[in-house]
């Protein structure tokens, strides 16, 4: 993520670091890195201990077929949510980064609501929005969005679409923050130069700003994807924890803990970590290449 914000400038240096400054940097990194690594090591250790007790028991601990469904839905829904989040974050991020207009700070604050709200509240609010709104007293003939959708054979609540809506609601807020930070880093003079030689604002954006911000946008997409992966509260409330329908990996973990299957829960958690690492690294590799090509063209 750090790489993404620095854009075309290469800020890393080849000078050695030493003395108290180096120690400060090193110790900080070591401390936090150790915390994360130990978390994972403890999980692995816990499962291995159980495996040592009874190897076959661990294999039977999980309904693997059901878990595969959950993995598929998780991967697909996170990808959809992340792409949608990026598609909405790019224009909004640019708007917030470049324009000053009346009510901007209020809008800015509103866009942060999904970040600060407790997850369960987001889920509950989505549930109310889709099932009890618009209120009957408005006399529009329908009493809810889902009620209206049911006329065309659709429904959001308790379906896979609800998983996406819940993930998108939160992931988009994070993506917008990140995309805006990326645009903020890009000197707006480069667009102005393009515009003085006759490019429209749109042209300047697509030809000058966008090529410089691929990495930042990709990082925002990755962040959105990761947020969607960890999303739990809103999904539990809005989409439900229905096996074979709306069960994603975070739900699986919850269901396994509910039945005291701690080993199962830990195994799924490790699976999520692996899935996240693979996805993030893949995106990273692709965008490093892509951005490099674009920038040196």
């Amino acid at each position: 993520m750090r790489d993404s914000i620095r854009n075309s400038k290469n800020n890393s240096s080849n000078f050695g670091i030493s003395g108290w400054f180096g120690a400060w940097l090193g110790i900080s990194l070591f401390f936090y890195l150790a915390l994360i690594v130990l978390l994972i090591v403890a999980d692995v250790w816990y499962v291995l201990a159980a495996y040592g007790d009874s190897p076959s028991g661990v294999a039977e601990m999980l309904d693997w077929e059901n878990l595969w469904d959950s993995v598929k839905l998780t991967f697909l829904s996170c990808t959809v949510s992340a792409i949608l989040a990026v598609l909405i974050a790019v224009p909004i991020g640019y708007l917030l980064s470049r324009y000053r207009f009346f009510g901007r700070s209020v809008i800015d604050a509103i866009l942060d609501i999904p970040v600060v709200l407790p997850p369960l509240v987001i889920g509950l609010s989505l549930l109310i929005l889709f099932n009890n709104f618009p209120p009957k007293i408005l006399g529009w003939g329908v009493d809810s969005i889902d009620g209206y959708l049911s006329h065309i054979g659709m429904r959001i609540t308790n379906t896979k679409l609800a998983v996406i809506v819940a993930q998108f609601t939160v992931a988009a807020a994070f993506a917008i923050r990140m995309v805006k930070a990326t645009f903020d880093q890009i000197d707006s003079r480069s667009e102005q130069v393009a515009m003085t030689v006759g490019a429209s604002r749109g042209r300047a954006f697509f030809d000058v700003v966008l090529p410089q911000s691929y990495r930042g946008i990709a990082a925002a997409g990755t962040l959105a994807w990761a947020r969607a992966l960890g999303e739990f509260g809103p999904i539990l409330v809005f989409a439900g924890a229905t096996k074979g329908r709306t069960e994603v990996l975070s739900t699986s973990v919850y269901l396994e803990i509910s039945t005291g299957n701690i080993n199962g829960a830990v195994i799924i958690s490790l699976l999520m970590i692996a899935l996240a690492m693979i996805t993030i690294l893949t995106v990273r590799v692709f965008t490093e290449k892509g951005a490099g090509y674009d920038l040196h063209r």
Binding site: T79, G153, S258
Partner: protein, 265 residues
Amino acid sequence: MKKLGILLGLLGVLGLCLFLMLNDENFGDDSVRELELHVAAGLQKPVEEIARQYEDECGVKIMLNFGGSGQLLAKLEVAGGDLYLPADASYVDKAREQGMIAESIPVSNLSAGIIIAKGNPQNIKTLQDLTRDDVRVVIAERTAGVGKFTHTALENAGLLEAVENGIISKVATVNEVALQVDLGASDAGIVWDALIPQFKQSEFVRVPDFDQSPNQIQATISVLISSENKAEALKFARFLVASDKGAKVFRKHGFDVQAGDQWEE
């Protein structure tokens, strides 16, 4: 051109993912015979087995939605459903007050006791032991079925204050109480006995006071007013408590079930 390519690529991936996700989704299509059962997470194991059995025998798909009893109730209030099976009848009472219940049948008696580490290293035998300084206690909040029971029972025994002074944490559900003790984060907690077989590092101490307690805690299955298929829903509810069907499965998983009638279509 390259930018357009990237955009089209993104949209393509988006479409593909959506298709793969939704091609088997039915959006509440009524022609598919299907019931939505909202069930307390602690009852997951037996209910899952019973639902699968019912699907095989009666050809109606049971979609199971798991969660905390109160949380499910909140959701049902807003979005509706076919069947509701909380861990404690008090939630059914609450739902009935709201006019949500069409019919309900008691499923299982839950009895509470103390959960402790396997082998009972600290020799915890009675409620009195929960007030000891060296015992780290965890109990559920009043909003959980077991939490309500715990608070009332301790109050009746005159121990609530003493126990609360030594409490290291209060958690939201009975499963979290058991989990804390099972992982060794706490030494003792109060849970339903039916949970114990699932938590391998723990064992259960019966509390005589609890067994005589007037607090009868029952898991109760209810057909909801909001169900569009009440007859079908009631049929499943009867299956769930039938002595030779659901009740048998509950018993296998360590639940104390009332003897229901034999199953007939």
